[in-house]
């Protein structure tokens, strides 16, 4: 399979896949064509560049590759009657951020930081598949441990958890605007 065909075929595979496609999966699919990891990376690279200035872009999310519409087209797409996810409240976002940064984390630990009851919020995040149960903590009482899901990465367009700004970066951000803090809500 020549380079151009491989690029087209990778595009077609991503186009029909409902979820982000990991590189390992592409290796399986294109194994019979003799395309190795390096060839696939190159094809993905070519595909990404060829989508410059288009309505759709190639993104690396949740450990895989996915075609997505560009953020600047959101106003137009908002007019379509696509089922939209329910908005996340501030409580949900805070809890999600905590779980993302501190996982594996117990409910008690989340509540210690937020200072409020978090049971309902956690349940909502579980229902929406953004948070999952990781197991039980090996301490008396064996509380449940929570962590984020691949869907969380997908929803927020993150290739992996390491793409989240580090807490150090957050601290720096806070340092520069600590004075003029206002409650964005």
């Amino acid at each position: 399979m020549d380079e151009a065909t491989l690029t087209r075929a990778v595009e077609a595979v991503l186009f029909v896949s409902p979820e982000p496609v990991p590189l390992a999966r592409l290796e399986v699919v294109f194994g019979p064509d003799g395309a190795d990891r390096a060839a696939l990376r190159a094809a993905l690279d070519r595909l990404g560049r060829s989508l410059d200035g288009r309505g759709v872009e190639l993104r690396e999310v949740a450990g895989g590759y996915q075609l997505r519409t560009r953020p600047d087209l959101a106003p137009v797409l908002a007019r379509l009657e696509v089922p939209r996810p329910v908005r996340l409240s501030r409580a949900a976002l805070e809890t999600l951020a905590l779980v993302a940064y501190r996982q594996p984390v117990t409910r008690a630990e989340v509540e210690d930081v937020r200072g409020v009851d978090t049971g309902g919020v956690l349940k909502t995040l579980l229902e929406r598949g953004l948070v999952r149960i990781l197991g039980k903590k090996d301490v008396p009482g064996r509380p449940l441990l929570y962590g984020t899901t691949p869907r969380f990465l997908e929803a927020f367009g993150l290739a992996s958890l390491s793409e989240l700004p580090s807490l150090r970066e957050i601290d720096e951000l806070l340092g520069t605007r600590g004075e003029g803090e206002d409650d964005g809500g």
Binding site: V16, L67, A74, P85, L93, G115, L126, L164, L167, E179
Partner: protein
């Protein structure tokens, strides 16, 4: 934003107040707001003044006949307690400022405030990201030309939470008798197998008699689980069964090295 502005917002929002102070996610959020607005140093909070401010907001809500969520009151109590501890004479005469860090009654509160502020900022950063289904869209359906067979070896797209929801609904619809049984049902096959292997580990090389495997007068579930676990271990060739004479005592021996496989 001036203090009056903020109170005005509290007034307006107060009408829809139900569980918590509207606009504030909790006492830490409110406290941070007060600290930041007055540009107090978060590591050197003037507790007396902050307490006064904090109580002012709470009182305002009382005047509006609004219930203040318990966690806000707990924080008020915490602040009051810190204030009183700070009024106590310091063990060192040279005053609060020179006091050792570990002795500062505010330390725990500061730790929580700093951590909460971080997470709050992290949440804001999350919120700013283009969200799938909100600003950006993928093609989340399965292309029709790909509908094919479900291959049994296919990985299972499983989610423990879904499993729990399914189970909870079953339990809710079931007679109490079933629920009790589930509650009692604490011993699993895997655990029973682990237990047996653990017993062997305690008597390395010696083996066990069949009867020794079972605790005295075991509950029925325990009996069944232990027996099935034994069968499974024999099947996995992790345990060898020896009966020296017909109708003689059955003795069991662990087969070295197979424990990991058997453990599941």
């Amino acid at each position: 934003m001036t203090q009056d502005d903020r109170h005005a917002i509290l007034f307006e929002e107060g009408h829809t107040y139900k569980v918590r102070l509207d606009g504030f996610e909790g006492p830490l959020d409110l406290l941070l707001h007060l600290i930041r607005r007055h540009r107090y140093d978060i590591y050197d909070i003037p507790i007396a003044r902050i307490l006064e401010e904090y109580l002012g907001v709470i009182e305002l809500l009382h005047e509006l006949y609004l219930d203040v969520a318990g966690e806000f009151l707990v924080m008020a109590a915490t602040l009051a307690e810190i204030k009183s501890r700070m009024l106590l004479p310091s063990p060192r005469e040279d005053g609060e400022r020179g006091a050792e860090e570990g002795e500062d009654p505010r330390a725990e509160l500061v730790r929580r405030l700093v951590e909460y502020e971080r997470i709050r900022a992290a949440a804001e950063r999350l919120e700013e990201r283009p969200r799938l289904g909100r600003e950006v869209f993928s093609r989340p359906w399965r292309a029709p030309d790909l509908d094919g067979l479900d291959v049994p070896e296919a990985p299972v797209d499983a989610d423990l939470f879904q499993l729990l929801v399914a189970f909870k609904e079953l339990v809710d619809e079931s007679p109490a008798e079933f629920v009790e049984e589930v509650v009692r049902q604490r011993i699993s096959l895997q655990e029973a197998m682990q237990d047996i292997l653990e017993q062997f580990r305690r008597v390395p090389g010696a083996g066990l008699s069949f009867r020794e495997l079972f605790p005295p007068r075991p509950p029925r579930e325990r009996l069944v689980a232990t027996f099935l676990a034994l069968l499974e271990l024999v099947r996995l060739q992790a345990v060898r069964v020896v009966q020296a004479a017909p109708f003689g005592e059955i003795r069991l021996y662990a087969v070295a090295g197979d424990e990991e496989d058997a453990g599941g």
